[in-house]
């Protein structure tokens, strides 16, 4: 889902933000980038915080390759 549309949905709803945010599929990296730029104490910031809660950025972890020996 487009992040702009998701923010619009969250800033205009009268439902609980968590309920709405968990049903909006958005890109976690896009949310994190927008949240970093958003101005605190705005509806957009509140909406992005709700989205970030359900769309956390998952960093890939480095693991050693396991050699399989016959």
């Amino acid at each position: 889902m487009n992040l702009t549309d998701a923010i619009e949905a969250l800033t205009t709803t009268y439902r609980a933000l968590d309920d709405v945010a968990k049903s909006l599929p958005v890109d976690a990296n896009e949310v994190a980038a927008a949240l970093a730029k958003a101005t605190p104490d705005t509806a957009e910031h509140v909406a992005l915080q709700a989205l970030a809660k359900f769309n956390p950025v998952v960093k890939p972890t480095k693991t050693k390759q396991v050699e399989v020996k016959d």
């Binding site: 205009t12 009268y14 104490d41 509806a43 509140v46």
Partner: protein, 172 residues
Amino acid sequence: MAAPNKILPGFAASLWMQSAASPTPLTTANLSVWTAQVATIVGTAANGTGAAGTQLNVEAIPAFGQDDAVASFSVAGQRQSDKIPTQAAPTSMTITSAWNPSDAALLQIRSDAYSGTVDRTFVVAAADGATTIAYAFNGRVGEFKIDAQPGAEAKAVFTIHPRGGQYGWSNT
């Protein structure tokens, strides 16, 4: 929603509401926004602007939050049963004010109670000097009665029923 990022060592609490007869309540997201949203309901006495709000002169701010709700299960032969929390309703706020038939805010509350369908944004503001922490919520008035006993001043008693999930914290 974000928690308030201020700590008040001591504060005075006051109750505010949107002043229009048929207000548009703040959206859930805006209930957590102080600047230009919650601040317009809170008066200057509590560090807001008060352009769209008025104070409710109440005797005390009642408890607010969430009621308890559980589903109880039991198994025959077991000593202890189980209580599982279920969907809890917001706590209804029963409030007492000195009855003043000239108080525009109380008359508005009475009008809302007669209607029963007016959604309005209310704000509990805790102010300490220049800092204010606000709990904003949307609610409807469900009860209004005047207790005019001869031995004391007349009281207006009303109940605000907050709408589920429509609340937010903000601060200056």
